[in-house]
């Protein structure tokens, strides 16, 4: 069975979806990602969907779910590289993914995550200040 690799970069997890996301794959990604977040204690999750050209309501819900679950585990989720057609479809489906952060590309997504994490780091001032 296909698996979507989850890469750990510093405090973040990165997922690049490069195949058509069928339902079972999306579900397994959801559970894998949540496992990975709790195991690594990641502060942010970056999902790159720039190669996804088809989206349905299920996929939209899964993306929302991932964001919500990560939030509970204290990790920010940023979805990057959404294609215009996908964005239009999601809006037409009535799924504007409220509460999910978005960015134009991976670079900007990383920047956004780093900024977010910085804020929380400054607030907490814990020992883990080796960021950047």
């Amino acid at each position: 069975m296909d698996k979507i690799p989850i890469l750990k970069i510093g405090h973040f997890l990165m997922v690049a979806i490069q195949v058509d996301l069928y339902d079972r794959l999306a579900l397994s990604l959801e559970s894998d990602l949540v496992q990975a977040v709790s195991k690594t204690g990641a502060k942010g999750v970056l999902i790159d969907i720039s190669s996804v050209s088809i989206v349905d309501s299920f996929m939209g819900r899964i993306l929302g779910n991932i964001a919500g679950m990560s939030k509970v585990l204290d990790a920010e989720t940023v979805i990057v590289g959404m294609q215009p057609a996908v964005a239009i479809t999601l809006v037409e489906l009535g799924l504007p993914l409220k509460g999910v952060q978005t960015a134009l590309n991976v670079e900007k997504g990383m920047e956004l995550l780093q900024k977010k994490i910085q804020f929380t780091e400054e607030e907490e001032i814990d020992d883990d200040s080796t960021l950047q």
Partner: protein
Amino acid sequence: MKLDTAKLLQKRKKQILELWMKNQLVDFSLREDLMSNEELTVQSEELVNILLQSLNNGNLEDVQSASFEPLYEVLETISRSRAKMGYSPRETGTFVFSLKDALLNVLQQEFKNDPVLLLEESLKVSKLIDSLGIVTFETFIKGREEVILRQTDEIAEISTPVIRVWDGIVALPIIGTLDSSRTQVVMENLLQEIVATSSSIAILDISGVPAVDSLVAQHLIKTVSATRLMGAECIISGIRPEIAQTVVHLGIDLSGIVTKATLASALRYAFSLLQLEVRKLNLKTNQL
């Protein structure tokens, strides 16, 4: 009987053509500035040839039958090229109807002794030529409609220009009523441009939109949501006082959207988001 007429006309093709040409040359609608007489002769001959051929194959009783298809096609080509040359529909119509005179003339000579037959055949020929005339007008109108359709497309195309106002900022002034199909075009163009320029801020200027009702507002909200999904911020600017009034009266919730009164203030807000500032140059301390 039908075969007789067809054969008869075939036999006297040359005479028909001559008569027709003579008719055309004396007619006031002759346009020598648009087409030389030689060209006209070639065109007329082509039409007479295909007409007689169709008469041979087909049935005069049924002018809509398939055997007349090639005739209509030739006629459509001729009327289209004439329309492009600048002939008026009347002139093209006269061109076709003058053929009727030539044909009737020949028939009259042939069936001099049989008035009943003459009437019968004349009526049939008249009917055929009339339907040819209708085809020329139809083609003319079709050509016009194509032009109008193309222009409509063009207007739709140029009415949604996406302007790159700064590095990372695109603006889209909307002029005219915003309906569903137009929203679709606006949204697509805007999102494409955001990807192409990797802009993080889009400004939607609606100062050219005459009225905002709940449907238009819904379209705007959709566009803003879509840009947000792409990872860009969307600002709506150019909201006139009347529009602000209607929006509030209609109870439309625009609270989740950044709105500015003018494009300038939207741009200022965009600059502050990008941590840019616009300053006046101090000329005295300026090295240049």
